[in-house]
């Protein structure tokens, strides 16, 4: 069930992509993908990461060239070989996190590189900026304010205005609502409806299905580089349209990841307790216990609060409410570690690793006390022995304690960061995206280590956007949506569909606000 012909249409489609095929080396990432957009239509483009959405947009905007297939605008075939071709044809993209120059004012940023702005007086430019922003988005923004002092939503207004000033025929928005608060989302939608009214075609990429339903007329679903199907939304939506979208995204043929066998050991006393932990603007108060011998998974989309949760628990981010480790309240990263806490950050190179130091030094970082004398003299022999043990236990390659950390693969670096906490004999593990950018082999070794830790009585808070990982590891899973806990799933209820449903806002749990046991 592919798209185009089923949709009733008056004239030629504004945009029609036909049989777009693209490979990178041996991997074909787009297989004859089709997509069409009518003038004044908002089309949702959805799919899991790696489904081919970004590649498709890059083909459309001239960053990649397709091997096969055709792009038609108003029924006429066009060639888009470079980004300037796409711009000339009136195709504009607003990227997920476009970097604006923080030290410029709104007016300066708005007309940056625009030839018409040269020579105009500052005052005239600012008046024009205010008028342009209001006309383009229906909202107001002080043109004299520095860009870095704006909220993300306000920065988005600049991008939108820039795009609108170019009078695009087709606008592509990549996950535009992720950083926005609920009210800001509605403002954005008002702007998009205005654009739609002017006949602009819009491709809207998002994981927030519930929001997509409010704005798009249909969702085109990609899976593994192919059209998986299309679902009508909005006023034409059938019953259970969003559930259908999730089904198409996940695919029925997909092998469910094996649940780990239920643990025989009972969950012990709570080692990590969160009581009303909140980060204003990102995370609503969350209470949660993680017991000895238990893995609690936390997941959600970008913007759901998962990004800040791990940092807050590890003491790296100011928060409201309390966090207790082994029954005692702690503050800050130093306090967390002193209470037996361990933190594996999502960005290991930036926040975890000493990239220019050896594996041995990296492994010892959190536990030098245990391998030095009371006066602080290092016992190099003990350090070497322990490093060798850890390298063997984690199967780090190369198995050379003197190797420099920057030389290792991502997976091996992650093993080292984890190994540092094994050396420190930590009991409370906060793992933030522990296998992102990790190869398959290292991934299963990291899973083994996590399971072993838990069997030995550690408590693990697993913050991850990798749903397979949740299904495979977590004893229970908490799903966040826009900062709120929307579901808590027991191990046997944790499936990719269920989690995706709650995380995207497609499903609603009746017991959404229920406290953890």
């Amino acid at each position: 069930m592919t798209s185009a012909s089923e949709v009733p249409q008056a004239g030629p489609a504004l945009l029609r992509l036909d049989g777009i095929t693209k490979s990178f080396g041996p991997a074909t990432v787009l297989h004859a993908v089709e997509l069409d957009v009518q003038p004044g239509e908002i089309v949702g483009l959805v799919g899991e990461n790696g489904a081919g959405k970004s590649t498709l947009i890059k083909v459309l905007t001239g960053f990649h060239t397709a091997e096969a297939g055709q792009i038609r605008l108003d029924g006429h075939p066009v060639q888009i070989n470079r980004p300037s071709d796409a711009e000339r044809l009136g195709i504009r993209v607003i990227h997920q996190d476009q970097h604006l120059a923080g030290r410029l004012t709104v007016a300066e940023q708005l007309y940056l590189g625009t030839p018409g702005a040269r020579g105009a007086s500052r005052r005239a430019l600012e008046a024009r900026a205010a008028a342009d922003i209001e006309r383009a988005t229906g909202q107001q923004l002080n043109p004299r304010v520095l860009v870095e002092d704006l909220t993300v939503a306000q920065q988005q207004l600049i991008q939108l205005t820039r795009a609108v000033l170019a009078e695009p025929r087709l606008l592509v928005l990549d996950e535009p609502t992720a950083p926005l608060a609920a009210a800001e989302v509605q403002q954005l939608f008002t702007t998009l409806r205005t654009l739609r009214g002017r006949g602009v075609g819009i491709i809207y990429i998002s994981h927030y299905l519930q929001e997509l339903e409010q704005i798009a007329t249909r969702a085109v679903v990609l899976r593994n580089g192919r059209n998986a199907g299309e679902v009508a939304l909005g006023e034409h939506a059938g019953h259970g349209a969003l559930e259908r979208v999730v089904e198409l995204m996940v695919g029925r043929s997909v092998e469910e990841f094996e649940h780990r066998p239920a643990r025989t050991a009972r969950v012990g006393e709570p080692l990590l307790r969160l009581r009303g932990l909140a980060v204003p603007g990102h995370l609503a108060p969350l209470s949660l216990d993680v017991g000895a011998g238990e893995i609690v998974g936390i997941t959600g989309l970008v913007g759901s609060g998962v990004e800040v949760l791990a940092d807050a628990v590890a003491g790296r981010r100011a928060h409201e409410g309390e966090a207790l480790a082994a029954g005692r309240r702690y503050r800050g990263a130093v306090g967390f570690v002193a209470r037996g806490g361990a933190y594996v950050p999502a960005n290991r190179r930036r926040d975890g690793l000493l990239v220019n130091a050896s594996l041995r030094e990296n492994l010892s970082l959190a536990s030098l006390r245990s391998i030095s004398t009371r006066l602080g003299l290092l016992r190099r022999g003990a350090e070497r022995r322990r490093a060798a043990e850890l390298i063997a236990r984690l199967d780090v390659r190369p198995a050379d304690a003197g190797a420099i950390a920057s030389r290792l693969s991502g997976g091996n670096q992650q093993k080292v960061v984890l190994g540092r906490w094994l050396a420190a004999q930590a009991r409370i593990f906060v793992l933030d995206q522990p296998t992102s950018g990790v190869d398959v082999g290292s991934r299963s070794q990291i899973y083994q280590q996590i399971n072993r830790l838990v069997d030995e009585g550690a408590a693990v808070l697993l913050v991850t956007v990798d749903l397979e990982e949740l299904v495979g590891l977590a004893d229970r899973t908490v799903v966040l949506y826009r900062g709120e806990r929307v579901a808590e799933l027991a191990r046997e209820d944790t499936t990719v569909d269920a989690v995706l449903g709650y995380a995207s806002g497609a499903s609603h749990a009746p017991d959404a606000t229920q406290e953890a046991a």
């Binding site: 990178f24 991997a27 990263a333 000493l354 130091a357």
Partner: protein, 346 residues
Amino acid sequence: MSTTAPERQGPGAGAPAAAPARSGAQPRPIRTSGWASYAGYGVVALVLALFAVLSPVFTDPANVASIINQATVTAIAGMGLAVVVIVGGDDVVEGGIDLSVGATAAVAGSVAAVLVSAGLGPAPAVLAALGVALLIGTANGVAVGLGLRPLLATLATMGIATSLDLVVSQNMKIALEGQPFTWLRDAGGLGVSGAVVVLLVVAAAFIWVFHRTRLGVNAYAVGQNPTAARVAGLNPARYRFASYLVSSGLAGVAGILLASRLSAAVPGIGTQILLDIILVAYMSTVFSRRLVITIGGTLLAALFVTALSNGMTLAGIASQWVGAVKGALILAVLTVVVLRSKAGNR
């Protein structure tokens, strides 16, 4: 199959599309083995050999002793600065730096000389001088702790200390004689002055701390990646504060050694010695296989830089050319090191 992981490599199909969005900046990979690791030593040896050929006096034991004696001031102050850069990171703009070391040394020398000439005993005079130095260090530590850029904060305290030096000395040369200052100045047995003894003690202590103790290992970790150090339970702010105290304290010691060697506190000498101090601390990377700042390397760099000046004088190079030749030789050494680290990248 994953949902939103930005970095996740899909099995097959989506892999190239998933860019590693959040990975940090590429670190500078470092060569750790092979002949090239010793290139720095090689070039230094070559330069010294050249001088030995140009002037037979250069390798004379008395001349070598005099080089070591002269190197004490830059070496000790340089080690203090090296500690700041190790703990603060070697980013030139954002990292650790202490521009006040030269002026701090000068003011410490002046304070000691003024107090001794006023009739105070040497011990209280030296203690007062070190106290003034530590006060400047405290100001640096507090300012940096508040979040000021070290480059700017210590530039400001450098101005204060320079001015303080002129106020204390009333812009006059003040003699510093008597024990223990003459012991520090004059060669004793083995042709070694007291200053060299001080240097050896300080160097041994700091090399030991930075290579053999928890404190030193943690200090390197804090400088390399403060976030990772904090995540691992260390408190980078404390290390940073302490590093500025160490730097000022050693600058104070260096200032007293300098005044002893010259038999007087010379006003305004701080700005003259500052650049050599910075030079030897940064040049220590030449003697490190990982191209990091080291205490031992700072000592070697101080000896090398002093030997350069000495060698050029002996070789009869006209004094107006000394700066140019010295600069060119230092550039040569640094270039070789940069090239070998690039070679290590391939």
